[in-house]
Amino acid sequence: MALSVHRERCIGSGTCVFTAPDVFAQDEEEGLVTLLTDGTDHVPAVRSAVERCPVAAISLDED
């Protein structure tokens, strides 16, 4: 499983931080998405965050 975030696309909606707070955060300086873990322990929440991101700034490859 490979989880990655695309900060250049991120608009700081905070949806992922709300949906999977153990996996995603927003940095202080720009408020854009950062990863806290690789997400393997929170797969359902990560999937939901991917679905709910308004700008498709999170990629999850489950192969």
Binding site: G12, S13, G14, T15, E28, E30, G31, V55
Partner: protein, 410 residues
């Protein structure tokens, strides 16, 4: 037979828009018919007589709102403007964030993103709690029945937002008048123009005072300081940013409080479970955002290129109304979509919009509503409506759905 059959649906003018809610908790009945029969269809804007597209299914609303070729610029003649603003005033306006297109939009939005992170909003919790407690104290001291709109739902979001921005408390009533007038559809274009002008004059003064005495203590102060160093935004652009944050953060939260409380009181079994387990509030808020859809049809667009939505061809220059309230009742996405169910698994709802323009204040909404609902129901556990729900006076003429009063007692 040469007569034209005027009863044929093909011969009828597109239906008038906006459509009326018969009840504050349910979107216009026409939306369900549109979703089923003609999910991408024409409507006639009542305010201007112009024909626009209306999109009613979630997949199509998402497609339009995430399409980079769509413009949000309300100065475009094809834009579905739902407010009667005279064209000369419209053209002279500084475009607010919601009406900007990339790449300018991104440059402006980045100024406020770090100000609205979930962590930062959670850090406001003690102050929001204090404001809410003060108002609940006053309600309890006064005794029922009280109007929750004026005693809680108007002052709390106003005070939180003004605190966040650094607006002096004495100026709040003036602000609310301006903000309300600009979103009403039963006022004259002159009144709307005047309110927009008065708000601009006030915010101009406020930003000027921040520029004269820079402070790190509030959002506007920090934006002003940052721009002294980096020069991304000029004075007028900061004023426009302030106006957008204020008009976007007043009525929305006010009406989520009154309609949310009313909806929960109308579902006593679910409310009892929420009171017993405040962990449920988080999910209940997402469900109330979906179910109430107070912004109804707020994010409109105008096409800059020809495209196809749901098999319907839309031409460059044509306007599109995105019925987010309808997308939030889409039966193909939500089971029993017309039922409030605070246990529903949090899925993708459209209450904050989709795409690069999604509400930047979503984290503030989540934090503030949780404090308001939890505190209110914990401190006044016997809270109930003081009039039958069918007699609640709901706002019919505004873009943001809501109530004109919420009489409660305990």
């Amino acid at each position: 037979m040469t007569e034209i059959d005027t009863s044929s649906p093909l011969r009828q003018d597109p239906p008038q828009f906006p459509m009326e809610r018969k009840c504050p908790f349910q979107p216009p009945a026409e939306y369900a018919v549109m979703r089923a029969e003609e999910p991408v269809s024409k409507v006639t804007l009542s305010v201007s007589g112009k024909e626009m597209w209306a999109v009613s299914r979630q997949e199509h609303v998402r497609q339009v709102l995430t399409d980079p070729t769509m413009s949000s610029n309300f100065k475009h003649p094809g834009y579905p403007l739902q407010v009667p603003v005279p064209d000369d005033i419209l053209q002279a306006m500084e475009l607010p964030l919601v009406a900007m297109d990339p790449p300018v939009h991104g440059r402006h939005r980045r100024e406020i993103i770090p100000e609205f992170t979930l962590k930062r909003m959670q850090a406001l919790t003690p102050r929001i709690q204090e404001i809410v407690d003060q108002h609940v104290d006053a309600i309890l001291a006064k005794g029922g029945p009280v109007d929750l709109l004026t005693e809680l739902a108007i002052p709390v979001p106003s005070l939180v937002l003004c605190e966040l921005l650094g607006v002096p408390a004495g100026d709040i009533p003036e602000f609310r008048d301006f903000a309300e007038t600009t979103v009403r559809s039963d006022v004259t274009p002159q009144e709307v123009g005047m309110a927009i002008h008065q708000m601009d004059v006030y915010l101009d003064k406020l930003v000027t005072s921040k520029e004269e005495s820079p402070t790190e203590d509030d959002l506007l102060g920090r934006v002003v300081l940052k721009n002294k160093e980096e020069g991304n935004l000029n004075h007028r652009e900061i004023v426009a940013l302030a106006r957008m944050l204020i008009s976007g953060g007043f009525d929305t939260l006010t009406n989520m409080i009154v309609l949310g409380v009313a909806a929960l009181l109308e579902h006593p079994d679910q409310l009892a479970q929420m009171k017993a387990d405040p962990e449920l509030t988080r999910n209940a808020i997402e469900e109330l955002l979906r179910f109430l859809s107070i912004a109804d049809s707020a994010p409109s667009r105008v096409a800059t290129q020809d495209l196809e939505v749901g098999g319907v061809k839309i031409k460059a220059g044509e306007g599109i109304i995105n019925l987010t309230a309808s997308a939030n009742r889409d039966e193909t996405v939500f089971e029993n979509a017309d039922q409030l169910d605070i246990f529903r698994e949090i899925g993708l709802h459209s209450a904050f919009g989709h795409g690069v323009h999604q509400c930047p204040g979503a984290s503030l909404v989540r934090v503030e509503l949780k404090i308001v609902y939890d505190t209110l129901f914990a401190r006044i556990p016997n809270l109930r409506l003081a009039v039958p729900a069918s007699e609640l006076p709901f706002k019919r003429a505004t873009l943001i759905q809501g109530l004109d009063a919420l009489p409660v007692t305990w």
